[in-house]
Subunit: 394 residues, 2 copies
């Protein structure tokens, strides 16, 4: 039963891979659903699921009574000894280390606040947590995937101003380890998760935007993130939608960032530049909600600037919908009319009859974790990934 090596490159396991991808994307799917969706005959479904079960990739849950006629179909779920991804989420204040299985289920989750934001200290702690996960699960951990609140290029953090980092190499694995390490921006990964499993599920082209300190996000087309040549795509906050005279810490001028976040609101309120723009924004939003007219005006201006930029991005990128997250949700809640007015004014006329809806993202604070897991499974659910799993686990 020894299989030849080269064969794998062409079509071997292609059907199994398609099934596996479908199971991952639709965790509740029954075997019959999968067969229908993929156009498989029931014979093929039988054979493929048998192979996937033998390879410890999927398991079949007891069929649950659906109330429908016909023979009940077992649901395909992650195998209890199947592949896992270790996800690390590095925020400005907090960290998370999660273990995610096929289908997106979270098998384990730890979190905490940074005791010391220094890169060395943060990474030392996270290395320990990752090592613990790998000790516990052994070779089931197929990848480590990091979501970090900073600009990422080619696997390293170029800048994470919230933590005072610049040019940090995220060495989270012992040197020499062959486990792949993936790194992405947290807002972009959150957008990937929203597009696939959140508010964007079903839409083909999703523009995700989040406001925290500045604006981040991602365009997701057919479930694939448009993250550029080096993974640094999605830095929409550094498009020059603002006042060309205003310098941005990024080095450019007139960045959109400076018009919509806590820095913008503080400026509009006549306050000095805030040390922590996130809480400054929250303060302004609370004051505006409480009826303070000058806060109201500042929030309105930020909302309008947000809407105007979204309009420009929609003109250029033509999404089916826009998913809003972070402070953008609060801006939309506090100043919906201004956001909408800015959005419509920014759109080309022909788009105004039926503009892509601005929708609130639904996945919550774990969305970067989910997105990082998605990115990792994208790598694992390939022929190479499968081959490697079969070699170790088969």
């Amino acid at each position: 039963m020894q299989q030849t090596a080269h064969r794998a490159r062409s079509q071997r396991w292609q059907g199994a891979l398609a099934v596996l991808r479908h199971v991952h994307a639709h965790p509740a799917a029954t075997r019959a659903d999968v067969a229908r969706a993929l156009g498989l005959s029931s014979g093929s479904a039988t054979e493929i699921t048998a192979r996937l079960k033998a390879a410890r990739l999927v398991a079949e849950a007891d069929p649950r009574p659906t109330g429908e006629r016909g023979r009940p179909s077992p649901a395909l779920v992650a195998h209890p000894r199947g592949p896992l991804v270790c996800v690390v989420d590095i925020g400005h204040e907090h960290w998370r280390v999660a273990t995610v299985e096929l289908g997106g289920g979270i098998a384990g989750l730890e979190s905490g606040r940074h005791a010391d934001r220094d890169a060395g200290a943060v990474l030392a702690r996270l290395r320990g947590r990752v090592a613990a996960v790998r000790r516990r699960y052994g070779p089931r951990v197929r990848a480590v995937s990091v979501a970090v609140a900073g600009t990422v290029r080619g696997g390293t953090v170029v800048q994470a101003s919230g933590m005072g980092w610049s040019e940090v190499d995220l060495q989270l694995l012992p040197s020499g380890s062959r486990t792949p390490l993936l790194v992405g921006n947290d807002a972009s990964l959150a957008g990937l998760a929203e597009a696939r499993r959140g508010v964007g599920a079903g839409a083909r082209v999703v523009l995700h935007l989040t406001v925290e300190v500045g604006v981040g996000g991602i365009l997701v087309v057919d479930g694939r993130p448009v993250d550029g040549a080096t993974g640094a795509g999605g830095e929409f906050g550094h498009m020059p939608f603002g006042d060309p005279a205003r310098a941005c810490p990024c080095g450019a001028h007139g960045c959109w960032d400076l018009e919509v976040d806590g820095r913008a609101m503080a400026r509009l309120l006549g306050q000095p530049p805030p040390r922590d723009p996130r809480t400054a924004a929250e303060r302004a939003l609370r004051a505006a909600a409480g009826g303070d007219p000058s806060a109201r005006a500042a929030v309105a201006a930020a909302a309008r600037a947000l809407g105007r930029g979204v309009g420009g991005l929609v003109n250029a990128l033509d999404p089916d919908m826009v998913s809003l997250s972070g402070l953008a949700i609060d801006l939309a809640a506090t100043a919906p009319d201004e956001l909408n007015a800015g959005y419509l004014a920014g759109l080309m006329r022909f788009r105004r009859a039926a503009p892509p809806p601005l929708l609130t993202s639904t996945l919550g604070p774990l969305s970067p974790v989910t997105g990082a897991a998605e990115a990792a499974f994208d790598v694992l659910l390939t022929e190479e990934g499968l081959e490697s799993w079969l070699a170790t686990a088969g």
Copy 2:
């Protein structure tokens, strides 16, 4: 030898399709090249090429002496009775109707100037030319693909202000015809061509930008155009990079369009808004090249505005390179320092050490034709397209 219907959905002809796509993308490739690139055994290559030859999809040219050692390998080329695409290019002033074969070779080309720019008149003439192509080649014509100088959404022209069109349905085929009709923006399709076969060949992420009246273009990732939910993506000229007080004919304000084209230069020269911004721009560029200081200043400002916007787009989209076309080439030639200064100033600091190069596109005026043919072959080189070809031609 009757083949079952369902089989085709899974992996039938998958290998042949991969070969066909490779041949299309690499017209000069020998059979050995293809086998190597796709990891095919020589036996498989033999079988697949035999099948493709029998299906009148590819032919093998006489092996040419290469001067290298070893048995010469025949080149795989388009079959002389293989599938064709009828391409229609509708510019502001001119039209073209081309017949393109697999691999991108142009088998026939007609062109002319619009006698009357009215949509009805233009379409009537083009319908005639398309009908002539279809009469001549019969069922070999598998698709009609249109590149039009206007905003396209979902297969119809929303607006083509250069010709005074709005909401034009491009009915170029007799009603009831089953031949697929594809429609795209000319600048976006030109960018697709440049990314695949022009200056962007080899790059994974290409941002193509062209200046004519306003700015158009496309982002191409892994050879796939990022053209949005309705095909209207790439309207980069309507991002608000300019003065927010300035109204754009598109309905929005502050569009980049208004800062870089002939309208911008006329404005900077204190002239009234030109009826034909294209020739106004050419006039200003000529005057600047001739040494006129005020024209020089106007061109410099437009070049700087172009560079600044390109910087913002690079920040957000992270391409490997930027391909410039149309008047952008002239701006780059006339005011290279200003363009570059604007570009670098618009980039985030971490990008400035190795910014994506701004390169001049290479395909020339036929690039929209090539791009439209590419878009059509993308549809034809699928299982459905192949199946349909085999049904009629097999």
